[in-house]
């Protein structure tokens, strides 16, 4: 009987060891940029949902494509209407995990590698990118930059505007997560 109690205690302890430590934000930032000789395109979204589970080293992002703001109104309309079809597929999301040591009770910048699946335009593709996680005053700050090809997500660019849209977008992520209450 004692053995069983010991085992249950052990199970509980080992369980808390991998227990979720959630950090979240609703105002994360994701921007994407395309540079060509003809035109520079930039779009920024300041309403990104992000959750980092520092206990299990999992993380997830989600955003509404309509939340991307372009300097040109017409570009924004075309992005939603013709490219990502946000009526049909309103969200983009990322779900994955990171590897690398992050000491939560000590302020500092930690280099990690994020690996997971990006879903956009009803298509899911694996993504791997180097990132930094910063522990600062009990908060968890994340930053990453990676490249995405619209083509991989079944987003076709008509030949007439191919000179103006880069075949590869640079995506920049910047989140500032607080411990979830």
């Amino acid at each position: 009987m004692n053995k069983i109690i010991a085992l249950l205690v052990f199970a509980l302890v080992s369980h808390t060891d991998a227990y979720s430590q959630l950090y979240t934000t609703r105002t994360g930032f994701v921007g994407f940029y395309s540079k060509t000789a003809m035109e520079d395109i930039k779009a920024e979204n300041n309403q990104v949902f992000a959750v980092i589970d520092a206990g299990k080293k999992n993380l997830a992002f989600g955003l509404l494509l309509k939340g991307f703001v372009f300097p040109k109104e017409l570009m924004q309309e075309h992005f939603n209407e013709n490219y990502v079809e946000s009526d049909k597929y309103p969200k983009a999301s990322f779900n994955g995990a990171y590897t690398g040591e992050v000491t939560l009770d000590k302020d500092g910048v930690y280099k990690v590698t994020v690996k997971g699946n990006l879903t956009l335009h009803n298509t899911t593709k694996p993504i791997e990118a180097p990132a930094t996680l910063e522990v600062k005053g009990g908060k968890l700050l994340g930053q990453a930059t990676f490249k995405v090809k619209p083509e991989d997500f079944n987003i076709s660019i008509p030949s007439l505007v191919r000179d103006k849209i880069s075949p590869e977008m640079t995506v920049s992520v910047n989140i500032d997560c607080s411990p979830k209450q």
């Binding site: 009987m1 249950l8 309403q47 299990k56 109104e73 079809e85 309103p90 999301s93």
Partner: protein, 303 residues
């Protein structure tokens, strides 16, 4: 007995692990939060261009955008091979629209038909919302036209006599991502009409729509109904037009067929003399090009 307790213990462990495994699907947590905010914005892209064919749409230039429109109509299709089926002749309107705000648009134009100048203000009164709380977009459009062509023996025609006013309510609904419809009740006022039997104030009703056939192409149709007994001295017909929109980046190219030669409300609504049946069909095109004069700053508003 001993083994049973072991099994219970092991099962408890598995159960605990499962609880934590459920936590790890962070995506569910997030999707719930996202769904809450998913459908709150205004409906965009009800029409691709500012005109269905001749009738204006609820769309207007965004704040700081300048839209340059070329509307071109060849001659009548039934004018014979000598006139190359109308292609020898042309009527042209050049127009500029500028977005003062995202809702208020000012436009000017010059049309070769009777050498007419036009100016208008368009204001987005209501905008259709994704939630359906506002089911339609409504714009008001006020247009002034003034034709300046010299007419022999009619020197008395001063600017006042040559001026006409149009007031329109543009009521549109994007029914699906492919189909949009618009209804346009119109009031027309002519300062001068040919005879006393003709009305100075007229009522007309425009109906139009577009059906997208691909992401960047649509088929448009427009019918402008003028109730009878308003224009008596000349025989006029309702205007019917078909169009094919092709959108490429900042351009919208529209190929059109219409029994109206003019592209201005005061002219195509109550002065259309051609009919489709007789082949009085004008082939032409509208081209619009958007120029972005002022870049808006990306919003830094936080939720």
């Amino acid at each position: 007995m001993f083994t049973r307790k072991w099994i219970v213990a092991v099962l408890s462990c598995i159960a605990l692990q499962e609880v934590s495994a459920q936590d790890s699907t962070l995506l569910n947590l997030m999707n719930d939060s996202l769904s809450a905010g998913a459908r709150t914005g205004y409906v965009t892209g009800t029409f691709k261009a500012t005109h269905v064919v001749n009738m204006q749409t609820v769309e207007s230039a965004a704040k700081g955008d300048l839209n340059f429109v070329i509307q071109h109509r060849f001659g009548q299709l039934n004018s014979g091979s000598y006139n190359f089926f109308g292609l020898d002749n042309a009527t042209l309107r050049l127009g500029l629209d500028y977005g003062i705000t995202d809702r208020l648009d000012v436009g000017i134009g010059r049309s070769s038909y009777l050498k007419t100048f036009d100016g208008y203000l368009k204001y987005k009164l209501f905008r259709q919302t994704e939630s359906g709380k506002m089911p339609v977009s409504v714009s008001v459009l006020g247009t002034v036209t003034d034709y300046t062509q010299d007419i022999v023996g009619k020197d008395y025609l001063n600017t006042k006599y040559r001026t006409a006013y149009t007031g329109q309510l543009l009521i549109a609904r994007k029914i699906s991502s492919r189909l949009s419809l618009e209804l346009t009740p119109t009031w027309l006022h002519y300062n001068l009409v040919p005879t006393v039997r003709d009305n100075n104030d007229l009522f007309a009703l425009g109906m139009g729509g577009r059906l997208k056939i691909t992401k960047r192409m649509s088929i448009n149709a427009e019918y402008d109904y003028l109730p009878s007994n308003q224009v008596v001295s000349t025989t006029v017909h309702n205007s019917f037009s078909l169009g094919w929109d092709i959108e490429t980046g900042g351009h919208v190219f529209q190929l059109v067929f219409s029994n109206s030669q003019s592209m201005l409300e005061s002219q195509y609504l109550a002065q259309t003399t051609g009919t489709w049946g007789k082949g009085d069909i004008y082939f032409g095109f509208n081209i619009s090009r958007n120029f972005n004069l002022k870049k808006k700053k990306p919003s830094t508003t936080k939720q």
